[in-house]
Symmetry: C2
Subunit: 316 residues, 2 copies
């Protein structure tokens, strides 16, 4: 299996840099004092569609053979990848087909519709999602873009670390969340080849610890009935992401939801930015394992900011 | 009465620029498309203490005679000015005395305490606040720093526009909220002397329309029983701010709370940043008076981001 290299991520960056947002890096002296560390937050919550996923979607489409793109792109997703792929397709003038479970939040359905995707609803099970997608791909001949187990998606996600390290080049540690492993894989490849001394930790929900178990048992463990508020971190690793993570990872840190909630409150309240639980878990890891991070320069990738504002009591 | 000049604001900027945060300017293509305009948001919600007030507090302290500062500074406030003055005093190694109404939100009391201020509680009426403050000032000989009706506070607040216009120098319009008028006054002086063609509009809550009535009747009208969610915009103008506003203002736009809520939702959801209602009212004005802003380059000063996160249902 061919794994991406640092150079593949640099190529991806040059390809997508005019499409994606160069997101800012935020710091907070309050949080630094609180945890006796220096934190650098890469704000992918400000990325287009509100999540890093837009990077990988753009890169995957731009690396697909033009002849194959005539028929559009397709995926199944109830979350940020659906929005990312449909917006990237819209910008690049390509048709997109998205299979969404029929219990997807209305706000996400509307966003995907707004980007002009053709939506097909299915039962909210993995097998229904896959079989519906297969039908769509068969009918339309559209190109399936996997949300994370895809060479070019991984390279695209790695460009967040490229931007981070080009700006702050003396980080001791980088933390990313891990769900399917696309962001973590891209981060590992770029950072470890940028400077092998940088430690890369993944933050994984205690109640969705399949990546932790996979690395421990040296075989992909499935995520079955995961229980966590981190709704972006429910999926299992793929073979590509498993291999990359297994090659490079320093440690997967399991984080209970109460640390993630505490982290999310701190980020909202002190930094005045909106992040989703799946992003806040990175600071949750700093709270839980504070000793590991003391007096270090730590990059945290705030992966996204898509929370359902309608559910927030403030507005009711 | 001596009004500040553009040069006074430039002097203030040089004095405070290493203490205050140079806040970023955000844009949103979604909002621009939605309202057919180009919006530039000056993010004072990212300012220290979460509001522009820190600028004025720093400048006021730095312009007070050193002999007078020996005894510290004092003010009465339940809100952002209390935090701003106490943090500025702490950084500059000066004692601070804050009179707070006994019904102030705990989160604000704790913040002021955290900055090392000495708090005196009083009944939540203006007369109790003023008489308690007078006692404190008499006992301590501390220097009273008014939250807005103060020459140097106005100059400090004007530095937000200085930063905005130095970065985006071809704005057609600037909008700020108006409460006591400190931010609006500083904005007017800087912007109108930077380029007299720039229109400056104030956004004022429909249910707290004393500034609107003051300019109309050409005499300061008091804010009596104001009704609005914009808790930072409840106060009346002072004689200094009234005079500046009356000299320079293009128009005060009254904005009903439902526009402000709509605006706040849009900013949270689309821009992923936390702003308080008193800041969101600027976008509320763009929503209500959309025609006025079409095809213009509009600067909006997002004055603050202090909402009580504990009250947000998401976390309960």
């Amino acid at each position: 299996m061919k794994l991406p290299s640092k150079n593949d991520i640099e190529i991806a960056y040059n390809l997508i840099k005019d499409l994606v947002k160069h997101t800012p890096i935020f710091t907070s002296s309050t949080l630094n004092n609180m945890f006796d560390t220096k934190l650098f937050f890469k704000c992918e919550n400000f990325q287009k569609v509100g999540a890093f996923k837009f990077r990988g979607a753009c890169n995957a489409i731009l690396n697909t053979d033009k002849d194959n793109l005539k028929n559009g792109v397709a995926t199944h997703s109830s979350g940020n990848h659906a929005q990312a792929l449909s917006l990237a397709a819209k910008i690049l003038n390509i048709k997109s087909y998205i299979v969404m479970p029929n219990n997807s939040p209305k706000v996400k359905i509307n966003a995907v519709k707004g980007y002009g995707a053709e939506i097909t609803f299915c039962e909210p099970t993995l097998s229904a999602r896959e079989s519906t997608l297969n039908q769509i791909v068969e009918q339309t001949k559209a190109e399936f873009i996997h949300p994370y187990n895809n060479f070019f998606v991984v390279c695209g996600q790695g460009t967040a670390s490229l931007e981070l390290l080009n700006e702050i080049n003396d980080l001791d540690i980088i933390i990313t969340p891990v769900g399917g492993g696309g962001l973590l894989s891209g981060t590992l490849i770029y950072s470890k080849n940028f400077n092998p001394k940088i430690k890369v930790y993944a933050a994984e929900p205690f109640g969705a610890d399949d990546a932790f178990r996979s690395i421990k048992s040296q075989i992909i463990q499935l995520s079955i009935n995961p229980k966590t508020i981190c709704d972006g971190l429910l999926t299992s690793l793929g073979d590509l992401t498993y291999n990359i993570i297994n090659n490079y990872i320093d440690e997967i840190l399991l984080v209970e939801d109460h640390y993630t909630i505490e982290a999310m409150k701190l980020i909202w309240e002190r930094m005045k930015i909106i992040v989703e639980p799946s992003a806040s878990i990175t600071l949750g890891a700093v709270i839980k394992y504070n000793e590991t991070f003391k007096n270090k320069k730590v990059g945290l990738i705030l992966s996204g900011g898509n929370v359902d504002i309608a559910n927030i009591n403030y507005f009711n």
